[in-house]
Symmetry: C2
Subunit: 236 residues, 2 copies
C-alpha cells in the first residue's frame, strides 16, 4: 500500500458546514426557584431592540420575551462565516489586492501544509506565491480582512491545518479556514458600536442559518426571559 | 394578671427599621463554569448608566462591573420607605388633604384594629375620623399617594396590623405601615420611564441605607458581572 497522501483532495463538493466545536449553546440550563440562570435562547427573534453595550463588548437588547445579551464579536463571526460559505459556494469570494505583498517566513511543517492546501487558500481569496526558500508572498487576501490581520491569519490557518492531523477532512479544513477568516475579519470586543451598527448586526445575525453559535461553537446570544427575571426578583 | 392590651404602646422610640421579610438578596448564588447565575450585588455603585427598560418594568444599566437590572417598583419603594422613615423621625410627614373625604366601611376586626392604631395612622400622615357605625372618613393622606390608592392602602394597613397578631411589635407595625405607604405610592411596573427618571431613581436608590432590598425584603437590583458574562459566552 502507498502511504496516505498528505495533499488533501480538493474536488469533493462543499457540504453545508457544521460548527467546529461541540455546541452546548442550545442545551437547557437548570433554573430553580432560588436562582435565575441566563439561558441560551432557542431562536433569535427579529424584533430585538438594542439598548446599548456592556463594556463596549456585549450588546444588550430587549423585546417582549425579556433581556438579550449578544457577544458582538461572536455574532459578527457567525454573520461573516455564513456569507463566506455562501460566496464560496457561488465562487464569488471578494478579494482585496494588497498595496505591498506581505512576505511570510514559514517553518518546515508550515511549508508542507502550505503546499498541501495552496488550492484551497486560493479558493478562499488568498493569492500566495512562493518567494524563495520557505518563504511566501501574500499578494491578495479576502476582502473583509484588515491588512494587519493577514499574516496572523495565514499562520493560524497553516498551523491549524497541519498534515500531521490526518483525520482532518476537507470539509473540516474548509470550515476551519472560513472560521479563521471570519474571526480575524469580525469586529472585536472593546469596540463602541453606534445604534445603526447594533441594529444591523442583530438583523444580520437573525438572518444566518445558525444564529445561536459562532463558528467555533460558542454562544452568540444569551437570553434572560421575563419569567426568570420575575423569579430572580421574587415576584413569582 | 391583666390580659395583654390590644392597644399598642405608641411612645417607644422609633428604631431604625429592619426589612420586613427574610432578606436572601445578599446571599451568594452558585456560579459554575457551565451556567451563569445573575447575582444580587453586594453594593450599589453610583456610576450606573441606565440604558433602557425591559418591558417597561426593569431598568437595565451598565458600568465597568457589568450589567445591572433594577426592579423599578421595588427600587422606588425603598427610596420612599427611607424618606418616610426619615420624615417620620423628624415629624415632617407631608400630608395631602383630599378634595372629598373617602368613606370606608370597616369590618368588625378592622374597626378594632383602627381603634388600636389610630394614633399611629395620624403620625404617618392620615387624618381619619369616625363616620357613623363601623365607618371612617379619610380626610387627608400621605402626600405621595395617588388618591385612588388611599382606600386600598387603609384596608391593607388595617388587615396587616390585625390585633390577632399579638406578636406584632410597634416597630414592626410602623415598618408595615411605612412599607404599605411606600408600596402604594411607588411607580408601578409596566410604566415607561424617560432617561432622567431612570437616572434619578438609580441615584436615589444608591443614596438609601439599604439599596439592595425593598422594604418587603425582596431584591431591588441584580448584577450580571463581567466575569459571569465572559463565562456564559465561554470566553473564559
Amino acid at each position: 500500500m502507498e502511504p496516505r497522501p498528505q495533499r488533501l483532495p480538493l474536488d469533493s463538493a462543499l457540504s453545508p458546514y457544521a460548527p467546529l466545536g461541540p455546541s452546548s449553546a442550545l442545551s437547557e440550563l437548570p433554573v430553580t426557584s432560588d436562582e435565575a440562570a441566563i439561558q441560551p435562547p432557542r431562536a433569535l427573534p427579529l424584533d430585538l431592540q438594542p439598548l446599548g453595550q456592556v463594556q463596549e463588548s456585549f450588546i444588550v437588547a430587549v423585546n417582549s420575551d425579556g433581556l438579550w445579551i449578544v457577544d458582538q464579536h461572536a455574532a459578527h463571526e457567525r454573520v461573516l462565516f455564513d456569507r463566506h460559505v455562501r460566496r464560496r459556494q457561488e465562487k464569488k469570494i471578494e478579494v482585496q489586492r494588497l498595496l505591498m505583498p506581505i512576505i511570510v517566513q514559514l517553518k518546515p511543517e508550515q511549508q508542507v501544509t502550505y503546499q498541501a492546501i495552496a488550492d484551497e487558500l486560493a479558493a478562499n481569496g488568498f493569492e500566495v506565491e512562493p518567494f524563495g526558500q520557505r518563504t511566501v508572498a501574500i499578494k491578495a487576501a479576502p476582502a473583509d480582512l484588515p491588512a494587519e490581520e493577514v499574516e496572523k491569519l495565514m499562520v493560524e490557518i497553516l498551523d491549524g491545518a497541519s498534515p500531521d492531523n490526518a483525520a482532518l477532512s476537507l470539509d473540516e479544513l474548509r470550515g476551519r479556514i472560513t472560521a479563521s477568516i471570519s474571526c480575524h475579519a469580525a469586529i472585536k470586543v472593546n469596540m463602541a458600536l453606534d445604534q445603526s451598527k447594533m441594529d444591523w448586526l442583530l438583523q444580520a445575525l437573525g438572518g444566518t442559518d445558525c444564529p445561536m453559535t459562532c463558528p467555533h461553537g460558542r454562544p452568540t446570544v444569551l437570553r434572560y426571559g421575563m419569567k426568570d427575571l420575575m423569579k430572580a426578583f421574587k415576584r413569582i
